[in-house]
């Protein structure tokens, strides 16, 4: 059983090129129509698979419409968390060089991960993480002042 998020773009071809340059995603599946438009695409980065699609909304979708954040004033209904495969500060530098809009520069969090967050050219938010320290739940609560409930 697995989970794959799909993100929608006004220009999926340009987005795929950018995701390759900025984050290191490689195309693993590309479905195009006769006009060369992207019907569906999948990209992989170190075991993380994403789907990439264009904007659309047909009658079979009821009232729902797949939109790029660029068409919704920057709003996004999902962010994506990905584990960086190389040193996260280097990954961040690569994303920044590709023009990612930095929402949060690399920072070590109370829960033991170093993370950064960026927006891609159409406004999707991507969060990268890398574990730098094992932190117990008790220490997480002490450091943050938050209450952490677990099923364990």
């Amino acid at each position: 059983m697995s989970i794959t998020p799909t993100v929608f773009y006004r220009d999926p071809k340009a987005a795929m090129d950018w995701l390759q340059r900025a984050f290191g995603f490689e195309v693993s599946l590309l479905v195009t129509d006769d006009a060369g438009n992207v019907g569906h695409a999948e990209m992989v980065y170190d075991g993380s698979t994403i789907g990439v699609g264009g904007e659309w909304g047909g009658p079979q979708l009821g009232g729902a419409q797949m939109k790029s954040p660029a068409s919704l004033g920057g709003a996004g209904t999902q962010f994506i968390w990905i584990t960086a495969a190389e040193p996260i500060d280097e990954h961040h530098a690569r994303a920044a060089a590709a023009g990612a809009q930095i929402a949060q520069a690399p920072e070590t969090q109370f829960y033991g991960d170093r993370t950064y967050r960026v927006r891609d050219p159409e406004g999707h938010v991507w969060c990268f993480r890398q574990s730098v320290e094992q932190v117990s739940l008790e220490d997480m609560e002490n450091r943050s002042g938050l209450k952490v409930k677990t099923s364990a």
Partner: protein, 150 residues
């Protein structure tokens, strides 16, 4: 499941507590962690599905939004791949109130798939491989150009 998969969707809900309960009932997720904000909101949560998980958070702030606040529009979807039981999964989701958009049907690319909207309008697709096809076989079956590399 312990630790973190390499990719995790973080999904925004106006009522994340209700969403976690619904995802358990409708799809079979199991909530393993919740960090609430003390005011009915969720700062962080982890709901497990096999070896994968989603983070359910809200209410939305900043650039984040729920489809419920965007007249049903959304910027991403989530696909769940099952090993078996696709039709039963659909009935379970329907009984929990999922809006089924496409009923279970076996696709020319070899997967049986249904799609639905959850309680706040996020789109989900759920699939199960019935027949393993190569990209070439998929292209022949669908009439599309299908490549595994650019």
């Amino acid at each position: 499941m312990k630790g973190y998969p390499s990719i995790t969707p973080l999904i925004w809900y106006q009522d994340p507590v209700a969403a976690l309960a619904w995802l358990e009932r409708a799809f079979g997720f199991e909530t393993r962690m919740v960090v609430d904000d003390g005011q009915g909101g969720v700062i962080h949560s982890e709901a497990v599905f096999g070896d994968s998980l989603v983070m359910v958070v809200g209410p939305p702030h900043g650039a984040a939004a729920s489809p419920a606040g965007l007249t049903g529009r959304h910027t991403a979807s989530v696909h769940l791949q099952l090993s078996d039981g696709l039709d039963a999964h659909c009935e379970r989701a329907r009984a929990a109130g999922a809006v089924i958009q496409r009923e279970p049907a076996t696709q020319p690319y070899g997967d049986r798939v249904y799609t639905c909207l959850d309680l706040e309008g996020h789109p989900w697709s759920i699939g199960q491989t019935i027949e393993e096809l190569t990209a070439q076989q998929m292209a022949a079956a669908t009439g599309r150009d299908i490549r595994e590399k650019l």
